[in-house]
């Protein structure tokens, strides 16, 4: 049986004035896989995420999720449909507690509404309690349960990264977009994170699209990847073929030259 495509982009293009940030991006992502989107800084990776998650309306092209066209759907509806994301620069609800952050994620699946809270209805009390419990459970999976009452902005960097993923999972997604989850981590932490990403894929039955700037990081975890450079898809395929692709090497060499200078 052929595996099912969960997300597909067709000719996805984003232009900012004269700049084409993403040009004709085509991808088919199979259910249950972990795939990567890599490329040097400014290649257009985050812009791709923003188009898929509804933050940008693409200048051209389509996004299909489970066969339905979600192009130009606002972010909150994309999330409701089952696509969750994290941000390259961590975006937590800084003044809320760690627990509250995850509970906010649960809200999209909450059935009772605010006036039921005011009326002190049992159905609402019960659901709020269930949400708090579910959130604690998620924190446990991420090793954050002892920090539940802390302010999110007071957490160390690594814990903030994990909290952001926990919060995304609280929305009960089928498809998870992670924007440079390993940024700012040392090699050992990065390795642990990649193992962890594999674990949550199993546990939560996810399909994961991962952005990474450093190619080496995702070689071990991704089954398939796309390489962007100046908005263009310069290569696509399994890690081994990407590693050997002269175009990719050139793009990254160029970047190293800039970094070394």
């Amino acid at each position: 049986m052929k595996p099912e495509v969960i997300l597909e982009t067709r000719k996805l293009t984003m232009r900012f004035g004269g700049l084409t940030a993403v040009d004709d991006f085509n991808a088919k992502i199979y259910k249950g896989s972990i795939v990567g989107l890599i490329g040097p800084n400014g290649a257009g990776k985050t812009t791709c995420f923003n188009m898929i998650s509804g933050f940008y309306a693409p200048s051209d092209g389509r996004v299909l999720f489970k066969g339905a066209d979600i192009t130009g759907t606002p972010p909150h509806e994309v999330c409701r449909a089952g696509v969750a994301r994290t941000f390259q620069n961590i975006r937590l609800f800084g003044n809320g507690t760690v627990l509250q952050n995850v509970m906010v994620g649960c809200h999209v699946r909450q059935k009772t509404s605010w006036w039921q809270t005011v009326l002190y209805l049992p159905s609402n009390l019960k659901e709020e309690k269930a949400i708090a419990e579910k959130s604690r459970g998620l924190l446990k999976v991420f090793g954050l349960e002892h920090l539940a009452g802390e302010k999110a902005k007071s957490l160390p960097y690594g814990a903030q990264r994990r909290l952001e993923i926990a919060r995304a999972l609280a929305t009960e997604p089928q498809f998870l977009l992670l924007d440079e989850p390993a940024a700012g981590m040392n090699p050992q932490e990065t390795n642990e994170l990649m193992g962890f990403i594999r674990d949550i894929r199993e546990q939560f039955k996810l399909t994961i699209l991962l952005i990474e700037h450093d190619m080496k990081v995702v070689m071990g975890v991704c089954e398939h990847m796309w390489v962007l450079d100046y908005g263009e898809t310069i290569a696509e395929g399994p890690p081994e073929s990407i590693k050997a692709n002269p175009k990719v090497i050139e793009a990254y060499l160029g970047e190293e030259a800039i970094a070394d200078a």
Partner: protein
């Protein structure tokens, strides 16, 4: 975590203590001190509602005076007798429906809140799409439009003359009853997961969107609920002071509430309550700076409006040196009080 039952009992007991205090106040305090108590209750309602909008949802709104005016005029028209209105509208006759309108006090207050909420919903829909700084200016403009309208639809509002002799139904029981209702309502909201989502919108809009929150809808909801209680506060105030006119609803009225909310702490309901009490009392007490002061034979003339200057300076100091206000974002909790007792117990 403390058991919910114990919390409910604690809250009921606190309410009973307040009721006993009010009962005592009613028989033992003079008119002047009773009036201060009443003002405290109304200010708490106003501060809680602005804190919901600004402190918890992060919408910098300066429209409170406008919603208060709507509540005040609606309530006044409904509780004044037709005979009273006949006497008041001397320059131009009131519209028949204004002339005939009448309702019991509680209905009139609710109507004031509901119409304010409706207006909040209608003006909020376009305004809340604006960015923060623009929202402040736009809501300020809205409040000013309401004031100008009040001046220019004399057949409803009696124009610049306003209303006199509004029945003083707003006694200590009504005011504190409404105050407790507002407190209950807003505490329930803020402590629920809906409250968490408002806080999320305040802290990071893009992240809130990514969490599946329809931020426009939730902002509008928070703004409408805030407008409702601003209208309630305005309605009670009208009956409390018995005279209203458009000049009463100048920006200074919004400024007073804003000052209370900022001093108490944006995002702390406890702070709003405490600051309402403290600032209402201080504002009364500070009236002495507006009276002539004698130093020996030398007379310092009192300057009208001086206490507002003193208060503005105080606000400036708070913003400079303690931006998070009295309470920061902390709240009073029963556990916390109980914890104090427990610690004492351990020492012994």
């Amino acid at each position: 975590m403390m058991e919910r039952k114990l919390k409910i009992i604690s809250n009921i007991m606190a309410t009973a203590v307040l009721a006993m205090f009010l009962w005592w106040a009613q028989t033992n305090l003079g008119a002047y001190h009773t009036q201060i108590l009443n003002l405290i209750a109304v200010n708490i309602i106003l501060a809680l509602s602005l804190n919901l909008i600004y402190g918890f949802t992060g919408m910098f709104s300066l429209g409170h005076a406008g919603f208060m005016a709507i509540g005040a005029y609606t309530c006044s028209i409904l509780i004044m007798t037709p005979a009273q209105k006949e006497m008041l509208f001397i320059l131009q006759k009131a519209y028949p429906w204004v002339q005939e309108a009448g309702a019991p006090f509680v209905v009139a207050v609710v109507a004031g809140g509901l119409i304010a909420a409706l207006v909040g919903l209608v003006v909020g829909a376009p305004l809340l799409r604006l960015g923060d700084d623009y929202l402040g200016i736009a809501t300020l403009g809205f409040a000013e439009i309401i004031r100008v309208l009040a001046n220019n639809i004399p057949r409803i509002t009696n124009g610049a003359l306003g209303f006199k002799g509004i029945p003083g139904y707003a006694n200590i029981w009504w005011n504190f009853g409404w105050c407790l209702f507002a407190l209950y309502f807003i505490v329930r909201i803020v402590n629920s997961n809906f409250g968490n989502t408002l806080m999320a919108i305040r802290d990071d809009e893009p992240a809130a969107k990514a969490m599946g929150i329809n931020i426009f809808r939730y902002k509008l909801l928070s703004f409408t609920i805030g407008s409702f209680f601003a209208g309630i506060g305005g309605a009670l105030l009208a009956s409390l002071v018995s005279t209203i006119d458009p000049k009463m609803f100048l920006f200074t009225l919004t400024f007073n509430v804003l000052m209370i909310v900022v001093c108490g702490g944006l995002g702390s309901l406890t702070g709003s309550v405490l600051a309402s009490i403290a600032i209402t009392i201080l504002l009364e007490w500070l009236r002495f700076v507006e009276n002539p002061i004698f130093i020996g034979d030398f007379e310092l003339k009192g300057i009208p409006g001086m206490r507002m200057v003193v208060f503005s300076l105080a606000l400036l100091f708070i913003i400079l040196f303690r931006r998070e206000g009295l309470m920061g974002m902390r709240e009073f909790r029963w556990e916390w009080l109980l914890g104090l007792f427990r610690k004492r117990g351990e020492v012994k």
